[in-house]
């Protein structure tokens, strides 16, 4: 189930330290996502991403047990933010795993760039900090090999190419 909940947080807020899974210190606002588009790079910290407005997807995944609630920025919103309209995304993970996501996937009620699972931020050990989540349960089209491969976790870079 997808619950839409937009929060507009002004500016960069100080987020209190995290005590999740041994993340050592919470230095104010690490860059968690770099988006490269038309030769320009945009960087987002957690607050910047949240500022774009978040949505929630309730779904199970093949990599986890049970249903979980994923909260994050919808890919569509992000693409709108960066002004990308066509082409594809090259999504790359912390370990340099990389996969292509066509821009056509960035639709309403489509994939999220999840920042929280079950209301908690995700550590690297929990496939954080960002995880591309499709609403698998809501739409059987998303329960395919291709979509699973696009569900990249430990995401930290996005490049938009034509």
């Amino acid at each position: 189930m997808l619950k839409s909940k937009r929060k507009f947080l002004a500016g960069i807020s100080l987020v209190t330290a995290f005590a999740i899974s041994g993340v050592s210190a919470a230095v104010a606002q690490d860059i968690i996502l770099t988006v490269t588009h038309d030769g320009q790079s945009l960087t987002f910290d957690r607050d910047a991403l949240e500022a774009l407005g978040t949505e929630t997807i309730e779904t199970s995944t093949i990599w986890t047990e049970g249903t979980h609630s994923f909260e994050g920025v919808s890919l569509a919103r992000l693409m709108q933010e960066v002004g990308a309209q066509e082409g594809k995304l090259i999504a790359t993970a912390v370990n340099d795993y990389s996969v292509d996501i066509p821009l056509s996937d960035a639709v309403e009620d489509g994939p999220l760039i999840a920042m929280k699972m079950d209301g908690a931020e995700m550590s690297l050990r929990d496939k954080g900090p960002l995880w591309v989540i499709y609403p698998y349960d809501a739409n059987s089209d998303y329960r395919s090999e291709v979509v699973y491969s696009r569900s990249i976790w430990q995401l930290d870079r996005l490049e938009i190419v034509d």
Binding site: W63, N95, K127, Q154
Partner: protein, 833 residues
């Protein structure tokens, strides 16, 4: 049969429907199954498991590669976290469930997890501590290496195995699907075949139905009888063209209407309605299926006419129907009535004709009797020769006249079928000699020689009807003598194999060829002057021919005009044993003792003649003027003989005889002889039935009278011959043997007595039954030669059939008498072995 087919087709359809449903469900299930398999394949919960596993190993190496002195601690931590998350995914992810169930994999995984738990504190410690523990970590990393390797490898093996199983499953499911499809196609094929067969059957049925309908329509339309079909409520369904013709209705106007309103006459309507109601209520059928019946029907114009109809019922799907075949029998009825009328008239005409002739002959014979009787008496007185000649001439004329009357009577008797041959032993030589003797006078007058001889060995005694034979021979010989002057007449007799042949040949005038063919017809006489001179009624030869056929023989003529003629006749005649004192009444008058005789006769002349004749022979004669007087006298005095006239005033001879026999008077058992001018054989039987012993025909001849008187004790024989034909009982005896003959006779006696009892019972008897029963017994009577009894039975049968009550009562009344005498006679017959 049709129902059968229908139910079979129904069952077939049900089976097909169920089979189809089963196959469809099976295919749906399989399809769902295949779809699931495909979905499983396509939705690939698996992600790229292999890749994930090998990636875990890669991440491990990435991590392990950073464990060295002076390592970048952030990178070490990052790499550890990536590896940690990888293992966490493997231990939690749904796609790895299958793998986790593999013990080897699970063991390796558990080991890795335990290792991770052990290492986490080192990684999460401060930078200084981590740096200090690098060597420890390096050792730990080396320790884990094989487990990570195993994890990747066993995952590969399990995965490959699962993939195989999955493929096998898919293949199996596809095969199942193929089989199900094959079954479905087979079932559909069978269904199609079944439908094709059903279709063909239906077409065949339809065609034969059409043919039957066409045939039926043709039959109904061409039937000469009207055909009307109605339903069980009497409404008309079919009305054939012939019915239209008969009733004057058009089919289109009456179909659907009530039968009663259309063709049933008003006076039968109530009965019709009641009948239909009965049939509906109780299924009672009175007209239907009972064959042809005659009823009345109504035409369109309201006229009533007779119909013959047959109704049959049939059961159809729409309920019972009734099929009536009707025929207008108006014409038939009219024809029948006309025919009956014509028959009645013909019978009446025939009856009046023979009655007229019988009466006439009686009326002629009675005065003639008087004349001849008196002449006979006159000759016994003293006469001079001249007077004697006159008397002889008068007698000749009288007898000629009597012969003519007798000829006419013979014809009547023969034509009314009343002439029956009286076959008995006789001496044919004596007969011929008598005839030749009687004709010799005439022959000598014609200067013609006359004689007879046996042609072949002589057979004097034969069985035949002496009187008929005498009549025929007398006629033929008489003719030959009449037409032969100065010539020769010869009679040749030949007996051969139970047949006797007489050739009467003359050298006389001969017969022209054109007349030979019709010489035996009635009233044919030669038309020459010579013939007229000879004279004749023209009945002689036709009577001869009739008598020959009565005897079962044939007569023919062969003649050449001017040269002579030869008449030839052959009759059956079996060899007989000689009987003394028979057939020679003329030659051997019987000596008699004086008798007490009662003569009952109303006619004065006749009475006088008879009395004179009897008294001349020395008998004591008492006379009575009518039947009543006769009865009274017979009661008082015992007579040896009663001569009884038939037609008399007050009380006729038959009634008088019955009263004498029925009473207990002195003469109740005396011999009674009928005197009559009517000598029809059937009447003779009636007289015998009344209790008379013999019949004498007027005019009374002395010789006859003497014979009757002299026979006395032999009278029984005479009446026996009249009642019984012994030849028949002899035949029966020969066929069945002595023992059986007695048994049969006993049974016949019992039957006869039973029938007589039945006829005389007081119960009301059905005429048809009477006719049937008497007919049966009459046949048996013939077997035993009980001719008289048989004739009496036949008379009853005839009267019963004609519905003539008076005749019937009289015939039944006389039956016991005849039976009594017949029974006695039959008992006396001792057939030869």
């Amino acid at each position: 049969m049709e129902n059968n087919t229908i139910s079979r087709a129904k069952a077939g359809r049900t089976i097909i429907a169920i089979a189809g449903l089963v196959v469809v469900v099976a295919i749906a299930l399989l399809t769902w199954n295949v779809r699931k398999e495909i979905e499983e394949l396509s939705s690939a919960r698996s992600d790229n498991v292999q890749w994930s596993l090998s990636q875990a190993e890669v991440e491990f190496h990435e991590f392990s590669g950073r464990i060295r002195t002076g390592a970048d601690l952030a990178a070490v931590r990052k790499r550890f976290d990536v590896f940690y998350s990888r293992i966490k995914t493997v231990s939690q992810g749904k796609v790895f469930e299958d793998l986790r169930s593999d013990p080897e994999f699970d063991g390796a995984l558990t080991e890795v997890q335990a290792w991770l738990d052990k290492v986490v504190p080192y990684i999460d410690a401060t930078d200084a501590e981590l740096t200090g523990n690098i060597p420890t970590l390096s050792a730990l990393v080396q320790e884990l290496h094989p487990a990570v390797r195993t994890l990747a490898n066993s995952g590969l093996i399990v995965f490959a195995r699962n993939a195989d199983e999955r493929r096998a499953d898919v293949a199996a499911t596809l095969i199942e699907l193929a089989v199900a499809l094959a079954v479905l196609i087979g079932a559909l094929g069978l269904g199609v075949l079944h439908l094709v067969r059903l279709n063909r059957q239906m077409r065949d049925q339809e065609r034969s139905q059409r043919q039957i309908t066409t045939r039926m329509t043709t039959v109904i339309n061409t039937s000469l009888d009207g055909v009307i079909v109605s339903d069980d409520r009497g409404r008309i369904i079919e009305f054939s063209p012939a019915a239209e013709e008969i009733f004057g209705h058009r089919a289109a106007d009456v179909i659907g209407k009530e039968l009663g309103a259309v063709i049933i006459p008003d006076h039968l309507l109530a009965a019709h309605e009641a009948g239909m109601q009965r049939m509906r209520d109780k299924g009672e059928l009175r007209v239907i299926g009972k064959g042809r019946q005659q009823l009345e029907a109504k035409r369109a114009d309201g006229s009533i006419f007779p119909v013959e109809l047959a109704v049959q019922s049939a059961v159809t799907e729409a309920g019972d129907i009734f099929i009536a075949f009707l025929r207008d029998i108006t014409q038939q009825k009219a024809d029948e009535a006309e025919l009956v009328d014509a028959r009645d008239k013909a019978i009446a005409g025939e009856k009046s004709r023979s009655e007229f002739l019988a009466t006439m002959s009686h009326e002629i014979r009675t005065p003639l009797n008087g004349l001849l009787g008196n002449l006979s008496l006159l000759r016994d007185t003293t006469l001079n020769p001249k007077q004697d000649t006159y008397i002889r001439n008068m007698e000749t004329s009288g007898r000629l006249l009597l012969n003519h009357v007798s000829d006419v009577l013979d014809i009547i008797r023969y034509d009314s079928g009343k002439v029956v041959a009286n076959i008995e032993p006789m001496n044919v030589s004596d007969l011929l000699q008598d005839i030749i003797d009687s004709q010799s006078g005439m022959a000598s007058k014609q200067e013609t020689t006359l004689g007879w001889s046996w042609n072949g060995p002589a057979q004097h005694w034969i069985t035949s009807d002496r009187d008929r034979l005498q009549h025929v021979l007398m006629n033929l010989v008489g003719n030959a003598v009449k037409f032969t002057k100065r010539g020769r007449v010869s009679v040749k007799v030949r007996w051969h194999e139970d047949e006797i042949t007489f050739d009467i040949e003359d050298t006389g005038a001969g017969i022209p060829l054109d007349q030979q063919a019709r010489i035996f017809d009635d009233f044919v006489t030669g038309n020459t002057a010579y013939d007229r001179e000879v004279g004749g009624t023209g009945l002689g030869l036709s009577i001869a021919k009739r008598f020959v056929s009565v005897l079962g023989g044939e007569i023919s003529v062969d003649s050449e005009f001017g040269k002579g003629s030869k008449f030839c006749f052959t009759v059956p005649a079996t060899r007989a044993v000689p009987e003394a004192g028979k057939n020679r009444p003329l030659a051997a008058p019987v000596a008699t003792k004086p008798l007490l005789v009662l003569v009952v006769e109303d006619n004065e002349i006749n009475r006088f003649v008879v009395r004179e004749m009897l008294q001349a022979d020395g008998h004591d004669v008492t006379v009575a003027h009518d039947g009543q007087q006769g009865v009274d006298l017979a009661a008082e005095k015992k007579f040896d003989l009663i001569l009884m006239d038939i037609s008399m005033p007050v009380l006729d001879g038959r009634s008088a005889t019955r009263r004498i026999r029925a009473g207990t008077g002195a003469s109740a058992a005396s011999r009674i002889i009928a005197l009559t001018a009517n000598a029809l054989l059937s009447e003779r039987e009636d007289y015998l039935a009344d209790g008379m012993d013999d019949v004498l025909t007027k005019p009374l001849k002395k010789s006859d009278l003497r014979r009757v008187l002299g026979q006395g004790e032999q009278a029984a024989v005479v009446s026996t011959t009249a009642l019984i034909n012994p030849k028949h009982s002899e035949e029966l005896f020969e066929v069945v043997g002595a023992q059986n003959y007695q048994n049969l006779l006993a049974r016949f006696n019992a039957e006869a007595e039973k029938l007589i009892d039945w006829l005389q019972s007081d119960n009301a008897l059905d005429l048809t039954d009477i006719a049937n029963e008497t007919h049966k017994l009459a046949g048996n009577s013939g077997l035993f030669g009980a001719v008289g009894f048989g004739e009496a039975l036949t008379a009853i049968e005839r009267a019963a059939k004609a519905g003539e009550d008076a005749k019937l009562i009289s015939a039944v009344g006389s039956l016991p008498q005849i039976w009594h005498r017949s029974k006695k006679a039959l008992a006396e017959i001792k057939p030869k072995e």
